[in-house]
Symmetry: C2
Subunit: 381 residues, 2 copies
């Protein structure tokens, strides 16, 4: 029952609540005058968030260049183009307006501008960055937790990989979390965000090291989300419900759940990434498909841990019941629990298995071999 | 049910676990070569912690001056003397080795050296510091949480005040938490540390703002501590039990429990400080005395909150039962629940009330008036 050695460090300044972007301009100005504003495909314009943010930057006397068009499963080409734009304009600070894909891209852009290295080299862990352009983010989707951590995920269609990079220089300086910026997230993406944050807590729960108070807190994040989540699905404009989910999403991956542990498992994320890569499937949807299958696979290997999960979440130590209740929760918020539900034909089973085997999708703590992946795909179909 | 706006910011790098001070020297060296080592009354020498720390600093090639003799309820005179020593020797970094009193003193020393202002002016909130000498701490007592926050408490015998100051410049740069450095804490101070950390969680629980997942986490800290605490009392050398309490103490006051709230109440601490001031009573002991009385006083004012506490901790919504169970817990670890148990005669009632009224001991959320204080003293005797 010993707590693993760990280092806790998270210098991000989190500004949380309604109206917090009222201080965005002065915050960004601390870091420089030349801003690169990064965003996605324009929904931020449609809903007025872009105007609010740009207004703040302009009123603070900052000069703003823009890179937009970041894709939901972000690709390295966009990052390369944004780096070129940033370098050409000598930008001093980056403002990312969006969800996980935009912020993840902006993190790699921030080290790409500051170091003369192709960004994919970072993603392949071939080069470590020496510095970074300061990054401020304004979050519009509660899901990935990237707003308050030092990780980023990108994909490279050329090499067939979707991978993550983690480095202290990727910590944003400031994160602005106004839950009213998330009230326009459509129902399906609201659900995928809920799944994503629960999956992050689960990855931590199944990570290395013995339980401590952190175990209780990790389960709290899931329990609290299972309480507010379904209410939010029926009341998407409710800022208070959005706030609860937003806070939980940040807490699920800001380092807290790894205190005293060797880190999370991430096997389910590895499996999910392959589905996203193959079919551009939303990240959260891949996780509600992969987690039940993974739990079934692990039920003979780590029964005590899964029983503890069941007791904590559902008051049962019956593993199959726990998995079914988790599936029922995902289904209740309309997130798929089988690949076929996500519109992928059962005939694709071999393609999926090949892709998973090619990249040896596995966990940090609970290894997966070819046989395991075959079993997982069968259960996921 | 809305989450209050808040800013979360905590840049402290926490090094947690057995053997973490092996990197102390290189960590301190980042900040400068001239070190002021601050500690208390010599128990750190008796148990070998001083030798370990000094060895690290010397092997890192640092020059070390020392200020020792910080008292358990730290006084501003020591801080003034240490500031003079630090200025005379142009120290570039401070290492605090000890518990809350040493680290709190070192925080005020760090701004006292860097700004030409008498330290009591900070404590009276008359002047704000502009800079600080970097501070690294090595913790030897799990209790106050000061190792990972920006607060400090000092007393001034001349003015009859024990007060707190909070400022972002008080954040230590690094905190080294090796639970094996706490195995020599005697039984009574181990108990007072447990009470202190529970009291911090309670101050947050009774703070301003509506509950969110943070409420659950705050109760977790108390529940977890009530589980490990009594085990530790019977097994003081157990490093793993020490680790659990140490982690809980840090989490109880590193900012987490205030996310989404307007801040803690701190009325019980205000009352406790007056007892410490009058009788040099250990801080934790004052809190196990003051909390039951405060809960009785509040039971008609905030019944729902106290019922929620009872349900979370003891599975009961009966308020008197909840208070009695809390008292029974404090008694089980030999922390007093009445002033008279702490060796103070009942005849002192008027003195105590006068001192409390003089400083208008009260909370940030739940105000206390003279009548309330009279009631509290009666219940505390």
């Amino acid at each position: 029952m010993s707590i693993e050695n760990f280092i806790a460090y998270n210098p991000v300044r989190l500004h949380f609540g309604k109206g917090v972007t009222d201080t965005l301009g002065e915050t960004v100005r601390q870091y420089g005058k030349k801003v690169l504003l990064v965003y996605g495909k324009g929904s931020v314009k449609k809903y007025g968030y872009y105007d609010k943010v740009l207004g703040q930057l302009v009123r603070a006397g900052l000069s703003v260049r823009e890179y937009h068009g970041i894709k939901p499963n972000p690709v390295v080409e966009d990052v390369r183009k944004a780096i070129a734009l940033g370098k050409a304009n000598k930008v001093e600070v980056i403002v990312a307006l969006g969800g996980g894909s935009v912020i993840d891209s902006a993190k790699i852009i921030s080290i790409g501008i500051a170091n003369d290295v192709d960004p994919w080299q970072f993603m392949m862990w071939q080069t470590m960055p020496q510095k970074a352009v300061p990054l401020v983010n304004v979050l519009t989707l509660a899901a990935t937790g990237t707003e308050m951590n030092a990780a980023a995920v990108l994909q490279n269609p050329e090499t067939g990989k979707k991978v993550g990079f983690v480095h202290p220089l990727l910590f944003p300086k400031d994160a602005f979390l106004d839950p009213s910026f998330t009230t326009t997230v459509p129902k399906n993406y609201t659900a995928y965000g809920i799944v994503d944050l629960i999956a992050h807590a689960l990855e931590a729960f199944f990570g290395g090291g013995e339980p401590s108070v952190i175990d209780r807190m990790t389960l709290d994040i899931i329990k609290d989300t299972m309480e507010w989540g379904p209410k939010l699905m029926n009341d998407l404009q409710n800022v208070n419900l959005r706030a609860n989910i937003m806070l939980n999403a940040t807490l699920a991956l800001n380092g807290l759940t790894s205190y005293g542990k060797t880190g999370g498992d991430w096997g389910v994320h590895a499996v999910g990434h392959e589905l996203s890569f193959l079919y551009d499937m939303p990240h959260g949807a891949t996780l509600s498909i992969a987690y039940p299958a993974w739990l079934r696979l692990q039920s003979e290997r780590i029964p005590k841990r899964i029983q503890k999960l069941g007791e904590g979440l559902f008051g049962t130590s019956d593993m199959e019941q726990t998995i079914e209740k988790l599936e029922a929760f995902f289904t209740s918020i309309d997130s798929p629990i089988r690949i076929t539900e996500a519109g992928i034909d059962a005939s694709k089973k071999e393609d999926i298995l090949q892709q998973m085997n090619k990249n040896q999708a596995s966990g940090m703590v609970h290894n997966l071999n070819d046989e395991d992946r075959k079993q997982l795909v069968t259960w996921m179909m």
